[in-house]
Point group: D2
Chain length 136, copies 4
């Protein structure tokens, strides 16, 4: 298992391009925040699909690290994302991940993605990570 | 909107091959039960993948009918199912669906599937239905 | 690797409930046929979604067995199926699977499903199997 | 229908942040290229998942525009992506999309993604777009 602080330090070091802020980790779950910047916006005043996919993937990775510890070799093998509503351009994006399987070689989680202060999800993702079998 | 009784009557009439029992409908959700029969079993003492996919699809359909009323023309366009654990052969299967989007032409729901009396899901599905645009 | 004859014998023995006919195996692919029976039909004169999901899963399994040999412990972990057109009730269903990844612990394939003698796919699936790591 | 030139002009105008180069459009298909930049790279010398998801989505959008003409209101409703192999950091990424359904309100396509000059796909995606029903 890894603490929120350990995960934040690891991401800072190994994923310097990551913009997502880790807010909560533990109990097979994670909450992550994206401060929407110019590069995340799309014409029509909304947040781009790739930005939503990125935060979904990060939330899943953080939830997994929280359970199995700092394992750089975990990799996404599948991400299935449904876009439900247009996210607001002027609000942070929040992703809440819950792991629904944590096996020896596979972890699967679902992620609900929101515009801050709106309870209706803007997107929903299910993602699978392959875990290194010999992780001690 | 359709009541549980209306949906049960509709399924009996229009889907005579359906074996799933509607237990609960409403508030954008549905709970459905499958009494596992010989034809649902797989060698090794477990429930077949197609039986799990069927109950996921029925739970989604019931949740949708509960919201939009009896609309025979709603059809599944996509189902994404993850198999998480081996279901028990000697327990009923329960599927709990929550709609995460109910638009004019598309409805999307997620479904957690359990062996009765076990809180760990055996499968998780996300499904999309296309709705007839002119449904009054 | 397993030959078409070995796979047919294995399925007959270990999956007696299987109705799909193995037509072709090899080169990371498989073709499988379903003779549509009463139990596969849905009101409106079409083939049920679960029947299509079943043939997709069998086609994928057969393609994998063709590459890695008879491995009963390979299990589906994910199936994503899109329903594209209404299949004809009075024609056989044909599924053509191509493996797009064959790794040590995961195999992924895509499957196009047709009504016989119609070149437009009625459904398309992508499926993942977890493979036992120590399979000799 | 829209020509390659019309689509390039439309993307330039309406999606100024787009980095993907349209190489081919027509016959329900499209080929798109990403010149990998620093912002697409991930530690370990590979291309990031979000960059692959972005090119998959663009390839699908271009294939659709090629068939139905310039329709800004088409939006992605679902993207399912499988990561198959580590893409090379020093090669362009190529995405080849084929539409497998083009209906009145939904279009579905599959996308194979490659590192240039390597015939083994690095990723595979299936995506769904919702189309405006009244598009003339």
């Amino acid at each position: 298992m890894a603490s929120k602080e350990e995960i934040i330090a690891f991401l800072k070091n190994d994923f310097p391009q990551n913009k997502c802020i880790v807010e909560k980790v533990g109990a097979k779950s994670a909450r992550v925040r994206l401060k929407v910047g110019m590069e995340d916006l799309r014409p029509g005043g909304t947040v781009s699909g790739p930005s939503l996919m990125t935060i979904a993937d990060v939330a899943l990775y953080v939830a997994i690290l929280g359970e199995i510890g700092i394992v750089p070799l975990a990799v996404t093998t599948n991400l299935n994302i449904s876009f439900l509503r247009k996210p607001a351009a002027d609000r942070d994006i929040i992703a809440q991940c819950n792991l629904i399987k944590l096996g020896r070689t596979l972890a699967i989680g679902d992620v609900f993605i929101y515009s801050e202060n709106d309870s209706r999800a803007v997107a929903h993702a299910v993602g699978t990570y392959a875990l290194p079998a010999s992780r001690g």
